[in-house]
Symmetry: C2
Subunit: 186 residues, 2 copies
Amino acid sequence: MSVGFMSFRQFILGLLRQQPMSGYDIKRLFEILTWLVGGPSLSSIYTNLHALLKNGLVSVEVVRQQNRPWRKVYSITEAGEQTLQESANQPVASQVSLRAFLMRLIVARSFSEERLICHLQQRRVQVAAQLAALKETARAQNEKTDFKRLALDYGFAMGNSELAWLDNTVNRLSKKPLPMEVVRGN
Amino acid sequence: MSVGFMSFRQFILGLLRQQPMSGYDIKRLFEILTWLVGGPSLSSIYTNLHALLKNGLVSVEVVRQQNRPWRKVYSITEAGEQTLQESANQPVASQVSLRAFLMRLIVARSFSEERLICHLQQRRVQVAAQLAALKETARAQNEKTDFKRLALDYGFAMGNSELAWLDNTVNRLSKKPLPMEVVRGN
DNA sequence: CCCGCCATGTAACACGTTACATGATTTT
DNA sequence: AAAATCATGTAACGTGTTACATGGCGGG
């Protein structure tokens, strides 16, 4: 499934902004988050790198290694920087999946601490809203045999955890408690 | 992005097994979980329903409503039941994203409590393994300025929460089937 | 009367996957 | 000598998105 405003292509570009890498490196990077957000196949990564290269958003350099096969290390170009800037400046859609959030999170970090915090706060508002909606849904159909029950329960647990993490992280990063009275928890 | 063994198509079929619904109903169902796993577009839902119908896995009935437009309510057929059974019996892949897990969770529930619990336990093993891998990664690259830091941190938080929820849920389900309190807010 | 929600659908396109293909190097 | 890991790539296919298109019905 596409995530619209933040595709894997964009994300890969964001990763290259932080440090030059090969396709294989990127694959290993994705692996650590696979269980959370899934990840593109290796083929897809290479294809995206080719496309970025063709569009002049990245450049390549073949690196010969000792005791290992050669690698193609990609770096972001000026044009790539600009493109990334633009896409990062776009406002976040109201319905953002966890995957899209995480990808933007990582990219946002490379720009500035302010943007990062802003991003976390936006996510906080959205998760809080979703939790409220979830609560409403649960209340509306409180029949015990409902098949959505477990999914709702799971949603609550994860949502509350994420909310707590967001608060915690924002606080830690901004080093001073922010006044937040957004709807929270039960 | 596809999830391989558990596509939206399969999931929609699973939903219809639990109760007949229209495409629009399904869309609203997905909405409550959008922030977690994303969801297919309305178009995609309709297209999938058409495909399921063409394959004889579901049947339709046009329902005329008062004060509202007519709806097409889909129900699962015998053939659909069988197909779903088979796909549900397939072993879970080792690297399962949260989305795939949630979809299987909901479908598994409609089969039997045993299968549900089994599914939860499988997920537990996988999340635990991922957390261990995450910890290893974090230890390996403990530079404080690393750009993966935040993502790793997020992964820890979510992983630990999910682990706790899984344990809690498995316990609750295998002990006694008493009413579960859904809302467990902060 | 227009807007928004309900409700369905088609077609062009973008994106990602699986299968296939190659080859160096290290480990067992 | 075989298997695993590192490392890259192509092509066919499946699936999902966006844009487009239609229409009933209710409320402001």
